[in-house]
């Protein structure tokens, strides 16, 4: 990775241009795909105006942030944590509880979300300082138990959290479909490309721009001196220590940063959904989704988060529909329609995942950019 980045700076001094040019088609594919996805997300309300597509686009935005922040840990630093949904949940529940109790205002989002982020930071600091000195497997266990405790708390403290049912609440009027950003002479919302410019659009762009800012901040972090130390720790912890880097400090720092960003993603999720419950922000299913998305995209590649999230989310939302179409089209053939029966979509998703891992051992982006070996 640093090879590629340093390449331009050192090109004049280097004799090894071939190592870089060997991967240029891969880079073209990756950067092209990410640019397309970015463009599609930026214009999503106009390109895909139906409700379900809006939900998919917003979920992709939030999960790109969530998965990229998890990649800071597992891919860049080599920290295995199972508590990422816990931090995601803290941001979401903080926002949700504040919106419920204080009413639908921005100050509720700011205060509740802020408290959620602070809680995530404090918890991450405690877990980090107490246990980042121990071996990776013990640390993973600690995070797993912390996440379990948080789930129990969320379901037991039902006065605050709504228990298993979660919390439903309203969000600021600016974000409601009835709110008109621009109204014409007849008092209706102005339409752009046939799409009314109402609060729903404002809400989507609130999510999109926040996610974009967070993602760019993470891109910056991994390209910073701090990012290079993280990679050094992943590669050889003892040597990083021997050249003067306090490994525990750096590990705790990035653990807190990732937790804070995950909590911010939680705020976005809570505001978008107008509902927060254990299933949508805390469950281990989400943790597993995050892991799969990181692996599909490629660990230690920020852009991998984008590709992994998009592929996985599209499969989760549309594979069933696609299979239903396929089953219909092949209705006259033996066996094939049974295989394509929509309820079997998880089978195909699993098969697809196995093939991906087989052909892209370092994840899609990792393999295309020629980064690293097999994990």
């Amino acid at each position: 990775m640093s090879m590629a980045r340093n390449s331009s700076a050192l090109a004049s001094k280097s004799l090894r241009g071939s190592a870089i040019s060997a991967t240029w088609p891969g880079r073209l594919v990756v950067y092209g795909a990410v640019a397309l996805i970015g463009l599609a997300l930026a214009l999503a309300p106009f390109l895909f105006p139906d409700v379900r597509s809006q939900e998919v686009a917003a979920r992709i935005c939030v999960f790109i942030v969530l998965v990229a922040s998890y990649d800071l840990l597992i891919g860049y630093t080599g920290i295995v944590s199972f508590a990422h949904t816990m931090f995601f949940g803290l941001g979401a529940y903080g926002t949700a509880i504040a919106l419920k109790t204080m009413g639908p205002g921005f100050e509720a989002i700011l205060l509740g979300g802020g408290l959620g982020v602070v809680a995530a930071l404090v918890l991450a600091l405690l877990i980090g300082l107490l246990s980042l000195r121990v071996k990776a497997i013990f640390f993973a266990m600690v995070t797993l138990s912390a996440a379990s405790v948080m789930m129990v708390l969320a379901s037991q403290l039902s006065d605050f959290t709504g228990g298993e049912d979660g919390i439903t609440y309203s969000i600021p009027r600016l974000f409601s479909p009835a709110f008109e950003l621009l109204s014409d002479a007849e008092g209706k919302a102005v339409r752009l490309f046939g799409v009314p410019l109402n609060g729903k659009i404002a809400l989507y762009y609130f999510v999109f721009i926040s996610a974009l800012v967070l993602f760019l901040a993470m891109m910056r972090i991994v390209a910073s001196p701090l990012g290079s130390v993280l990679k050094a720790i992943r590669e050889n912890e003892l040597r990083a220590e021997a050249i003067g880097y306090r490994v525990v400090f750096y590990r705790t720092t990035i653990f807190c940063i990732a937790a804070g960003i995950a909590a911010c993603a939680g705020i976005l999720r809570a505001v978008w959904l107008k509902y927060t419950g254990p299933d949508v922000v805390l469950s281990f299913d989400i943790m597993i989704d995050i892991l799969l998305m990181v692996v599909i995209g490629g660990m230690g590649t920020m852009l991998g988060a984008v590709i992994g999230v998009v592929l996985m989310t599209l499969a989760q939302y549309y594979l069933k529909d696609l299979m239903a179409l396929g089953a219909e089209a092949t209705g006259s053939l033996p066996l094939v329609p049974d295989l394509l029966y929509p309820e079997r979509w998880l089978l195909w998703l699993g098969l697809g995942f196995i093939l991906l891992v087989y052909f892209f051992p370092s994840g899609i982006v990792g393999t295309l950019l020629g980064k690293g070996g097999q994990k």
Binding site: I221, P225, A232, E235, L238, E241, A242, I243, G244, I257
Partner: protein, 256 residues
Amino acid sequence: MSNSPSIRTENLSIHFGGHAAVNNVTCAFHPGELTVIVGPNGAGKTTWFNLVSGQLRPTQGRIFLGERDITTLSPSQRARAGIGRAFQLTNLFPKLSVFENVRLAVQGKARQGHRMFARTAALSGLKDKAMHFLEQTNLAAVAELPATALPHGDQRKLEVAMLLAMEPDIFMFDEPTAGMSVDEAPVILDLIARIKEDASRTILLVEHKMDVVRALADRIVVLHNGELVADGDPAEVMDMALVRDIYLGTGADEVA
């Protein structure tokens, strides 16, 4: 030699179970002095190095850097305090580029590791310095290869480049020429000789090759079974009957 020692150990011991790998070693080293530490395999040379650079904690005894007691400091604190160490078993960041390996050492010295929002690629000071050390060690041409792709001799050079990049006061080399070809070793020895030109630096060197010892040593310390058995002028020490016995062959049964 300068008057006050730059680094010294006092009754330094470490026990692994009942075995004393380093036993009661007291000695002091001065700026401008190159000391070669010799002894058969298992004599405790590398263990003593690990105690000084902090990878191991002593069972007993103290370590001083100048006047400062550094016995309880972590390896990173010692590195920042000025103790630099090159390792015997190559100990690099394997998937990172050669350049990045050295740049990380420069960045550690410059204490820039915590910066989150600066772009590494834009910090030209770090970059130029790293290139400077790569040129010194004849590694500039392979700067962009991953460290793991280098042949063994070049990996040893990279170890030395990283040590230089730390710009320490105390240079610790653990068999820097081990496994290097005959034409490669002189590059490293030249570098060590050049480090020595700066009289503020203290150099500790574990080495087996007698020609290296003769060419570079101001002083020789002999370790045997974890104990310091001889210390002094190279010619004298090499002449001692005891040293000949344990080091130059007849003591083959002593090898752990």
